[in-house]
Point group: C2
Chain length 185, copies 2
């Protein structure tokens, strides 16, 4: 942020009085502009308990890689409504939410991802505008080396383990950026 | 938003091509400015399982009313870290998180509130800068008519019920604005 979104004048970046971290301050409007993490909501859609619906991304980042249907939550909707909307938009699929399944804080990206375990009652789906392909995968056919994101790999790994145990508890994960690689002289 | 935060020129509000809802568009930067829900993170701190730590708000909204320690999640922290930070800031209390306890979509306010059940290991706490008072309450002493928010009332009600049952599952709630009152002629 360089300019105030309310008045168009330049903002100053410093820690306001009584606060403990720097913010964008507008001296004309007397407004402090806060920036907060975004929520990504989605589903882990399962058909007959042992087939998982994945979407091949048609957009960057990670175009051509497989993912679960998920995307940014919009204003004035619930987390569940966002997850169902993304599943509809990306996979043309109507699912029934079972429970919140993963809550991942992606600390370096200031994102929080929430994936709901969901039942796909009938094998009806097709590629939405943001997908190149949508398919059901048996556990042994999951394209592990072509998954788009670490959070997707985690969710699929949790599901296969939990399927064996017959219980599907919430998985709470904190992801931090990998340490920077040392460059050898 | 009236002006672009990157270049300071006026933005236009309309639905971009390929999108399905209006956004603030900057024609100079070719940027679309998205607005998304904010996360409020906090704790339901419990001492010896049957006493709950509440804070009397020193700030608006709802100054003078009782609440659980909670506040906006910051960039580059996890949801749990935000909940622990708010508990430290508002109640000078160090707690141990047990599990995610309530997930509330406050649809009309574009907010998502996540409260963690947490153990207060020792009865050590005091008022932080945003609190007028901090106290432990037995169930029968909870000031139901002086609670700050519906989400807090819900969380306390859930806890007292769950305490009887001995199980503390995640409670997933969607709150929508109450219907507008009819004004009689």
């Amino acid at each position: 942020m360089k300019y105030c979104s309310e008045c168009g004048n330049k903002v100053s970046y410093y820690t306001p009085e009584g606060d403990n971290r720097p913010r964008h301050n507008c001296h004309f409007c007397q407004i402090i502009h806060y920036s907060n993490p975004n929520i990504v909501a989605g589903c882990l859609p399962v058909y007959q308990k042992n087939k998982i619906l994945l979407c091949k991304r048609a957009i960057e980042p990670r175009r051509g890689y497989w993912t679960l249907p998920a995307g940014y939550m919009e204003n004035n909707e619930s987390v569940e409504a966002a997850a169902l909307r993304e599943t509809r938009e990306e996979a043309n699929a109507e699912v029934n939410i079972i429970s919140l399944y993963t809550l991942t804080s992606i600390v370096h990206a200031s994102q929080v991802q929430m994936l709901f375990l969901a039942e796909l009652p009938t094998p009806e789906f097709s590629s939405g505008i943001e997908s190149l392909d949508v398919q059901l995968f048996s556990f042994e056919d999951i394209p592990w080396n072509q998954l788009a994101f670490q959070t997707i790999k985690n969710a699929l790994t949790f599901y296969i383990e939990d399927y064996k145990a017959g219980k599907f508890p919430l998985h709470n994960v904190v992801l931090k950026a990998p340490p920077k690689q040392l460059i050898k002289p």
